[in-house]
């Protein structure tokens, strides 16, 4: 159990540092490690957790805490949460002032522009994980496409789409 907690802690810390552009960038890597390598949860549970946490408030990374809960109970959830927060917070604490003073320097600009396509590629991987792992039927496909269009074309808070999805699911329109 202790070794599993250590494993969770080290990997959460790693994902926190590798999360360029936000925690969702690491989703595919979390899937690879937590599901494929460690079998802490099934592929179905993985997409379930990330989907369920869309309906809860708080930063995106909380789905990783839920994986920690699944792997090692309450201790797992707490270890993951703390390990996920501390490294990036420490980095932000010490580096933010330095970066802010050099915001217009060519190096900071280059890093910003170099990481932007990396973030896009990683979020595409995250989408791919969802598309790969979810069983497709007509209702789900339509709801996904409608969500893409509405979220892309409008500025509604996504929680309204989540609420619509929850109602459609509970009512049995999307199975």
């Amino acid at each position: 159990m202790t070794s599993r907690l250590t494993d969770l802690a080290l990997h959460s810390a790693l994902w926190s540092i590798l999360a360029v552009g936000g925690m969702n960038s690491t989703l595919a890597d979390i899937q690879r490690y937590a599901v494929d390598t460690r079998h802490w949860l099934t592929a179905q549970q993985f997409v379930t957790f990330f989907s369920a946490m869309q309906a809860a408030p708080g930063p995106n990374g909380m789905a990783v805490s839920l994986i920690g809960f699944q792997a090692a109970g309450l201790a797992g959830a707490l270890v993951v949460t703390i390990s996920m927060i501390v490294p990036s917070a420490v980095l932000a604490y010490f580096v933010s002032g330095w970066v802010e003073r050099r915001n217009d320097s060519i190096v900071v600009k280059a890093v910003r522009r170099g990481l932007a396509p990396a973030t896009v590629g990683l979020l595409a991987c995250a989408s791919y994980v969802f598309v790969r792992e979810i069983d497709v039927n007509i209702g789900r496909a339509v709801l996904t496409i409608v969500t893409v269009v509405v979220a892309y074309r409008t500025r509604f808070n996504p929680i309204w789409l989540v609420a619509v999805g929850a109602v459609l699911g509970l009512a049995g329109f999307v199975k």
């Binding site: 490690y33 805490s65 699944q70 002032g97 590629g121 995250a126 598309v131 496409i145 892309y152």
Partner: protein, 210 residues
């Protein structure tokens, strides 16, 4: 720091900020905790809009412009963006203690909720009502991530460099399932180097504006 708060503040109809502000009061540690606790608790559907609402509109700690400057910094640094905002804002007012307070405030409610969800899933994970609910949530979650990819994709400059970096990342991590650490350790610096070369070339061909 005695610049006018912002045009927005003066334009508001609630009458609270019509007087020209002299100096914005420094929030106490308790106020930093309270503000980020509320951001964590109310942050449905992505926390950043709620962070803006709280820090700019409700508390008046940042102007719109200041928030717009903090945001790309928080996004550039790794980790959850809003967590970086809590660190930066907390540090600005109360140093290390402020940063810790802001981050703890932000995560308190979401952590309790997540543990609650964990216990709920352990008890009712296979119940019919949960299956129905998740069947509706999964397509929405998928659609939201795809929409984010599209939005970011169209915001990238349309050139070969960006295309190659996006596709390489997708193939390496998505299709080949290579571990993220070595991939990012190569592609991050490589991408930055490509952009650095482009920026230098730009700077040498266009006359300086100064």
């Amino acid at each position: 720091m005695n610049a006018p708060i912002s045009d927005d503040a003066n334009r508001r109809s609630d009458g609270l900020r019509d007087d020209p502000p002299v100096a914005r009061p420094k929030p106490t540690l308790g106020e930093v905790f309270g503000a980020f606790f509320m951001i964590g608790l109310t942050g449905f559907g992505g926390v950043l809009p709620w962070a803006r609402r709280m820090l700019v509109e409700r508390r008046g700690w940042l102007t719109d412009r200041e928030f717009a400057e903090v945001l790309p910094l928080a996004q550039l640094l790794p980790g959850p963006n809003v967590s970086n905002i809590a660190t930066i804002i907390g540090r600005k007012y109360h140093g290390a203690l402020g940063a810790v307070t802001g981050v703890c405030g932000l995560y308190l409610a979401p952590t309790i909720i997540t543990v609650g969800v964990g216990y709920a899933y352990a008890s009712w994970g296979s119940a019919a009502v949960t299956t129905h609910l998740l069947a509706g949530l999964m397509p929405v979650a998928t659609g939201l991530v795809i929409a984010t990819v599209l939005k970011l994709l169209v915001s990238l400059p349309r050139d070969l460099r960006n295309l190659v970096l996006v596709v390489t990342m997708f193939v390496a991590v998505g299709l080949l399932k290579l571990p993220l650490l070595p991939v990012l350790a190569v592609l991050g610096p490589f991408g930055s180097w490509l952009m650095w070369r482009a920026l230098r070339a730009e700077a040498s061909t266009t006359p300086r504006a100064e």
